[in-house]
């Protein structure tokens, strides 16, 4: 036995509840501080401290047993979590969050399964426990599989294009109805529920999780991850109902509701409704219509780009996922420094959904020590665009596509963009003319004042910087 019997506490004792109250207060405080740039890091530590307290007090409960297995589980989980978090590149952060979210959902589903077996072994399961068990199983399972698909898409294991099977939404609807029907049958039969049916529900939810995320394009993944994050929170809260554990209920609900708000804010930043985002199979149609005609583009080399930039008065960089993939943020910062030495005014225009997650670009540029004041949000920089000499688009695509404004039939119509086409000149650094994550052609590339520089972002930025230095 790991713990001495004298330490064993009852879950319903006042002392344990008091510790749980302290723990969830720390969670609330942590999230609150996480909403301000100055206190965010401390907020994260505060929440982590709350977690440590909650785990420590739970480990001393009388219902806890099988200490060896717990030890193995915690050691293994800590090892994987630490190694993965240290080794992950900043560019892979979004899929990492997806993965962590998935395992959380998986844990909720597995715990509910275990609790189901335990409770049904004793005969009848009271409905006030059974309903949360079923909810946590279904939602946890959807979240686990959905997050894994999101991870696969972002990691390029799965194609990032939306995959839409015929009648998929109708099929998904039937599947959801079947899962609910299974839950109702289990609930009616709660005196002796069938485990086979329970497992069928679990598997049905797994299939639904896969089918739900597959038709959604990679560009919308951040919103999906945020939504699944809220789902996992609710699954955790439901597990709290089933296990009669107050800290699970509060923490899970907090994540559920704050995650919902974050999801809404993100989709608002993309100017799309959540329904449209989840069910439209966004981009699938335009990807199928492959009648892209050859149009002329003007292409330049680093020397010409250096001259354009070096003799400009104001330059705006527009970074996108391409910069992240090429790890070009440091090279871009060097180029910005070179330009500033020559007295050029340099700013960075950050689209709210540039990259694969809101704030992704801010994180990367902050890593490269770009001063905070140079990072301009979209609303702030767009009015400046007509007065800008050169806008340099680095690995960004859809967030600069003027079709969002000009073409009401475009799949991204209405999405706010960085209006680089308003600048006097545009240089687009990109490896090829291939479409971005939304799978649509970008009219920007074919405009008169646009020059394409075909290269990877990092090489191009350091080449241009070297040329600027020689000017």
């Amino acid at each position: 036995m790991i713990q001495a019997p004298t330490l064993a506490l009852s879950q319903s004792s006042d002392f344990v509840t008091a510790c749980y109250i302290v723990a969830f207060s720390l969670f609330i405080l942590g999230i609150r501080q996480g909403t301000h740039p100055r206190t965010a890091r401390r907020g994260n530590l505060i929440a982590a401290a709350g977690m440590l307290l909650a785990i420590a007090i739970t480990l001393s409960l009388d219902v806890v047993g099988n200490g060896a297995l717990i030890l193995i589980g915690i050691l293994l989980g800590t090892g994987v979590g630490v190694i993965a978090s240290i080794r992950v590149q900043m560019t892979q952060m979004p899929q990492m969050v997806a993965l962590y979210n998935g395992v959380g959902g998986g844990a909720a589903a597995l715990i509910s399964w275990s609790e189901f077996r335990h409770a049904s072994g004793a005969g009848s399961i009271p409905l006030d426990i059974f309903v949360p068990i079923l909810f946590s199983t279904v939602v946890g399972s959807v979240s686990f599989w959905g997050s894994n698909v999101a991870f696969g898409k972002l990691q390029d294991i799965l194609p990032s294009r939306p995959i839409l099977l015929p009648f998929q939404h109708i099929f998904n609807g039937f599947l959801l109805a079947a899962i609910l029907a299974g839950c109702v049958v289990l609930g009616i039969d709660h005196d002796s529920p069938s485990e086979a049916l329970f497992i069928a529900v679990l598997i049905g939810a797994a299939v639904l999780g896969n089918l739900f995320v597959l038709p959604i394009g990679g560009a919308d993944m951040p919103v999906v991850i945020s939504l699944l994050n809220a789902f996992t929170g609710l699954a955790a809260a439901a597990a709290g109902f089933a296990l009669d554990n107050v800290v699970l209920i509060v923490a899970g609900t907090l994540v559920g509701s704050s995650g919902t708000i974050l999801t809404i804010e993100m989709s608002r930043a993309m100017n799309r409704s959540i329904g449209n985002l989840l069910f439209s199979g966004f981009g699938a149609v335009s990807a199928a219509a492959g009648e892209r005609e050859e149009r002329p583009v003007s292409s330049i080399g680093p020397e010409d780009a250096a001259i354009k930039l070096g003799y400009a008065d104001s330059v705006v960089f527009v970074p996108g996922y391409g910069m992240a993939v090429a790890q070009a943020q440091h090279a871009v910062k060097e180029l910005a420094d070179e330009l500033q030495k020559r007295g050029v005014e340099v700013n960075f225009a950050i689209h709210p959904v540039a990259g694969r997650m809101p704030g992704h670009m801010n994180v990367l540029l902050a890593e490269a020590d770009v001063p905070y004041e140079q990072l301009k949000e979209m609303e702030e920089i767009n009015p400046e665009m007509p007065r800008t000499d050169v806008a340099v688009v680095i690995g960004a695509n859809d967030v600069t596509n003027p079709a969002a404004k000009d073409d009401p039939d475009s799949p991204i119509a209405g999405m706010p963009i960085i209006e680089v086409d308003q600048a006097r000149e545009v240089i687009v650094i990109k490896r090829s003319l291939s479409p971005g994550f939304a799978g649509i052609d970008n009219d920007l590339f074919y405009k008169e004042n646009t020059s394409m520089l075909f290269s990877d972002a990092k090489g191009a930025a350091s080449d241009i910087a070297a040329q600027v230095e020689e000017l």
Binding site: A251, T260, D369, E373
Partner: protein, 110 residues
């Protein structure tokens, strides 16, 4: 705890979650998502509780996997969030932000 007490707690916690997160700068969306992601790793406590009553091999296996999953969620979630936020620490950024924040309410009050 009675069901109705639990529902009361649920509803209040939901409102706290809505309130606490309003008006977040876009920059912090990702770290905040990551932090709340770590917090729902709390579900790991459920694993600690159910594994105590696990009698057969299957239940022990399920419980152990749940604990592994939950721990990855917690440890990985908080560490990744910390790494992200660590990048916002700038040499001279902090004093400037303090200034901005103290100036704005003053202006609003005039």
């Amino acid at each position: 705890m009675s069901l109705i007490t639990e529902i009361t707690i649920f509803v209040l916690a939901a409102f706290v979650g809505f309130e606490v997160i309003s008006k977040v700068p876009t920059t912090l969306h990702t770290p905040l998502m990551s932090q709340t992601n770590a917090i729902h790793g709390i579900v790991m406590l459920g694993g600690l509780i159910v594994i105590g009553s696990a009698d057969d091999t299957l239940e022990k296996l399920i419980g152990t996997i749940a604990i592994v999953f939950g721990t990855i969620n917690i440890v990985g979630g908080f560490l990744v969030t910390d790494r992200m936020l660590g990048m916002f620490r700038g040499r001279d950024r902090k004093p400037k932000q303090v200034e901005e924040e103290t100036v704005t309410p003053g202006e609003a009050g005039q």
